[in-house]
């Protein structure tokens, strides 16, 4: 199963949205995680139901918090605490905000959609993500439609970043976050780019594109299941116990 963990859709019209979801199916995705930019008075559930009706793909929701200060983050996390059926993601380049976000149990992932921001990811943050079992989401959308020298520079940034994460690839997620329909690339192509250009092993590339996004969705499904009534607390049957 291939999952695109970051689908930008809020600025699109209904027909464009339908077309975009069709393109995702065309390139080989089975499930999508739609991005919802955080706003205090937004009804995320109604919006998600609306887009779920527009496509036959499995669509899940992810609320993205973009706090400017630590206070903003705490306030936003308080406001989204009732949305346990959504994944919570934090987008920031501030080291202190990232540290608080990673240590908070309500946050599932941190996101870096711009490759230029990847130099803010330090080995300390990676280590913290690993111990807290959180995910780090990256995107290659900036790589398309630019000149060769600019692309070389971005490749260098990605290569530098991947060399830091190399031993901790269980935390990496690839989420497209494509603005235009024509920036969408299939999961198979992304895995091949990671192998052919950044010299990762095929196993590692598949982990980033396939198994880690699956694990990411499983967090949500487990939380939604009737056996789990709060994070980390699950009812197990007597039979299983024995």
């Amino acid at each position: 199963m291939y999952v695109n963990t970051s689908v930008a859709w809020e600025s699109l019209s209904k027909s464009d949205r339908k077309y975009k979801f069709n393109v995702y199916r065309f390139v080989g995705y089975n499930s999508l995680i739609a991005n919802f930019e955080y706003s205090p008075n937004k009804d995320y559930r109604t919006l998600l139901l609306g887009i779920q009706e527009e496509s036959s793909l499995n669509i899940y929701g992810k609320i993205i918090l973009t706090p400017k200060t630590q206070k903003d983050l705490k306030k936003a996390l308080k406001n989204v605490k009732d949305y346990s059926d959504f994944l919570i993601c934090v987008k920031s380049i501030d080291k202190d905000i990232l540290t608080i976000a990673i240590n908070d149990s309500r946050v599932d992932a941190i996101s870096f959609p711009n490759i230029q921001d990847l130099n803010h990811v330090t080995s300390g943050i990676i280590s913290l993500l690993k111990t807290q079992e959180k995910f780090l989401e990256i995107s290659f959308r900036n790589v398309l439609g630019i000149t060769a020298p600019e692309r070389s520079r971005l490749f260098h940034e990605i290569d530098k970043f991947l060399s830091i994460v190399a031993t901790n690839t269980q935390i990496l997620l690839y989420g497209g976050n494509e603005r235009s329909i024509y920036e969408i690339r299939g999961p198979r192509e992304i895995a091949t780019i990671l192998t052919a250009i950044f010299d990762l092993s095929l196993q590692t590339s598949k982990k980033i594109v396939q198994s880690n996004p699956e694990r990411f969705i499983n967090i949500l499904l487990e939380r939604k299941s009737s056996n789990t009534f709060s994070q980390g607390v699950k009812i197990i049957s007597q039979q299983n116990k024995e």
């Binding site: 393109v23 065309f26 390139v27 080989g28 790589v143 398309l144 439609g145 060769a148 235009s180 329909i181 024509y182 920036e183 969408i184 690339r185 299939g186 198979r188 192509e189 992304i190 091949t192 780019i193 192998t195 052919a196 250009i197």
Partner: protein, 114 residues
């Protein structure tokens, strides 16, 4: 030295403006251009790239390369963003070692999806 075997890659594409007529030559030119841009002239000649078949009505085609550089070809296809200044999305469907098998897959795929 590794023994080189041939691989056939089946690909398809979608175009923003369906009125733009895309020919086999246009596709070959854009693949070579992107390949040279990404891997240089040396890397490009090593791939042994050859267009075997192209079907503008189904918007798909088959290209031949070798087993060692197959990944480079798929990566190159992913980096194609426009043909004749029209945005496109290229997508590789399947890779096979024999053209006969790939044509069977192509037939099954297009019967199922179109």
């Amino acid at each position: 030295m590794h023994l080189q075997r041939q691989r056939y890659v089946l690909f398809e594409y979608i175009v923003e403006n369906p009125e733009v007529r895309i020919t086999e030559k246009d596709v070959i030119r854009v693949i070579w251009k992107t390949l040279i841009k990404l891997f240089g002239e040396y890397g490009a000649y090593k791939t042994g790239l050859w267009m075997i078949e192209f079907d503008p009505s189904l918007k798909c085609g088959i290209i031949r390369c070798n087993n060692i550089t197959k990944d480079r070809i798929i990566a190159t296809i992913a980096f194609i963003s426009s043909i004749k200044e029209t945005p496109v999305v290229f997508h590789s469907i399947k890779t096979s070692g024999t053209i006969k098998k790939l044509k069977e897959i192509q037939k099954q795929f297009f019967d199922k999806h179109r």
